[in-house]
């Protein structure tokens, strides 16, 4: 292989996660802490335990996804009656009351995007574990999308917090956050960390092993 098309790992180099300085990895045995000569950050050739960590976080996120969707997100009490709404019943409410755009936004951000994230991350993990060499560029693109859209799932939590702040006791109605809110917020945060802990360079490592 010529030097023009080699990865840093093949050349015995390591790229700093924080400042992107390329350094020569010292040849040592064991697991010493190697720090970047420029910024002092800890150097790793690949994110440490990327696959296992991502699996653990994806599975945790999936477990939290269930109560987040089944339990009520908001509990509204007007004079004499209380109503508990899950994420899905909120979406259905918006659909019936003419604002299907809002229903679509909430459905996409709160239900579809987290689900898609689980599917994509599991697919990426399996493809790396089975050393797939198919369409690495598209898989990297999938990863980039997953990393970018995950934060938008938080929107429903913000809607709930704003409703709580505006509709207070003694007013027309009282809105409280349901038990799902915490699970949902945790699920979004965990899947964000999951995407962060996956190392897209693993996708390309299988290709290089094929060439060697």
């Amino acid at each position: 292989m010529n030097e023009a098309l080699s990865s840093a790992r093949q050349l015995g180099l390591v790229s700093c996660h924080d400042c992107h300085l390329l350094s020569r990895m010292p040849k040592v045995t064991g697991h010493p802490v190697v720090s970047c000569p420029r910024c002092g950050g800890v150097l790793h050739q690949r994110k440490p335990n990327s696959i296992m960590r991502t699996w653990a976080l994806v599975l945790t996120g999936m477990i939290f996804y269930v109560p987040a969707n089944v339990l009520p997100m908001t509990i509204t009490s007007a004079i004499g009656s209380t109503q508990a709404d899950t994420i899905m019943s909120g979406v259905i409410y918006f659909m019936h009351h003419g604002s299907w755009e809002i229903a679509l936004v909430i459905f996409t951000a709160s239900i579809f995007v987290p689900f898609l994230k689980f599917v994509i991350l599991i697919y990426l993990l399996l493809s790396v574990q089975f050393k797939s060499i198919k369409r690495p560029k598209d898989r990297t693109l999938l990863y980039r999308i997953t990393e970018a859209v995950g934060r938008w799932s938080m929107v429903d939590i913000y809607v709930v917090t704003i409703l709580i702040a505006l509709v207070k006791l003694g007013f027309l109605a009282n809105i409280e956050a349901g038990p799902a809110a915490i699970y949902f917020a945790a699920m979004v945060a965990i899947t964000m960390i999951a995407a962060e802990s996956f190392d897209p360079r693993l996708i390309w490592d299988a290709l290089e092993e094929q060439h060697e």
Binding site: S7, R9, V105, F171
Partner: protein, 214 residues
């Protein structure tokens, strides 16, 4: 055991700049680039880095503008809800306090962090790194400050909060009139201004300058 890795290049080849793609690890040798040009990875297409003009001045200008907007966004009334003669006002901070009083501590912390504290940390971090650079003096802890700035980035969620406001306004629109306050406008502008500030940061240049100081 702790040790330092060695830079891969000798002084002789300093004009060519070596960088590994952060997404696929392919090593590139990049010649000096014209301003506003971006270098992309030949294998996976990720942007390796951009050469940004006047990075220090632009970042400082947008960040200072952002801090002014931030003060308005945090202190002025955010939304008011009118129904008959009753007016219910809320600001960003009083919203967080309401959540806390209703025992929604975790949600209160979440909003406080993602929409109030982290944007502030981002702006203060930028000022802390860029003011000394502009005035040519050194400060301690500029490296950890900039590292922190880079790491908190995905957790700054003002634009998502803004979308939440719009949805909440539609949701309550049938029950009462929602009047957006001055703070909402400042908050909306702050999203763009902070984004411009972050886009103006030439990460590559910052690390080179911070590295040459130590």
């Amino acid at each position: 055991m702790e040790m330092c890795a060695q830079p891969p290049l000798d002084g002789a080849k300093k004009t060519m700049h070596q960088i590994a793609c952060h997404e696929c690890d392919l090593v590139h040798s990049i010649p000096p680039m014209p301003t506003r040009a971006a270098a992309c990875c030949v294998r996976c297409g990720a942007v390796l880095f951009r050469n940004k003009p006047d990075s220090i001045d632009r970042t400082l200008a947008w960040t200072i503008a952002g801090l002014v907007l931030y003060c308005v966004a945090v202190t002025f009334p955010f939304l008011a809800m009118k129904s008959g003669s009753i007016v219910q006002k809320t600001s960003l901070l009083s919203g967080v306090r309401n959540l806390y009083q209703q025992d929604e501590t975790i949600l209160a912390i979440l909003v406080l962090l993602t929409c109030i504290l982290i944007p502030l940390i981002q702006m203060l971090g930028l000022l802390y790194v860029f003011i000394p650079m502009k005035l040519n003096f050194r400060v301690k802890y500029a490296v950890p400050a900039f590292r922190l700035f880079q790491h908190v980035k995905p957790w700054s969620m003002m634009e998502i909060y803004m979308l939440g406001i719009l949805i909440a306004m539609v949701k309550l629109g049938k029950m009462a009139t929602i009047v957006p306050g001055l703070a909402v406008i400042a908050f909306g502008l702050l999203i763009f201004v902070l984004n411009f500030a972050i886009t103006a940061v030439d990460t590559h240049m910052v690390w080179e300058r911070l590295g040459s100081e130590s």
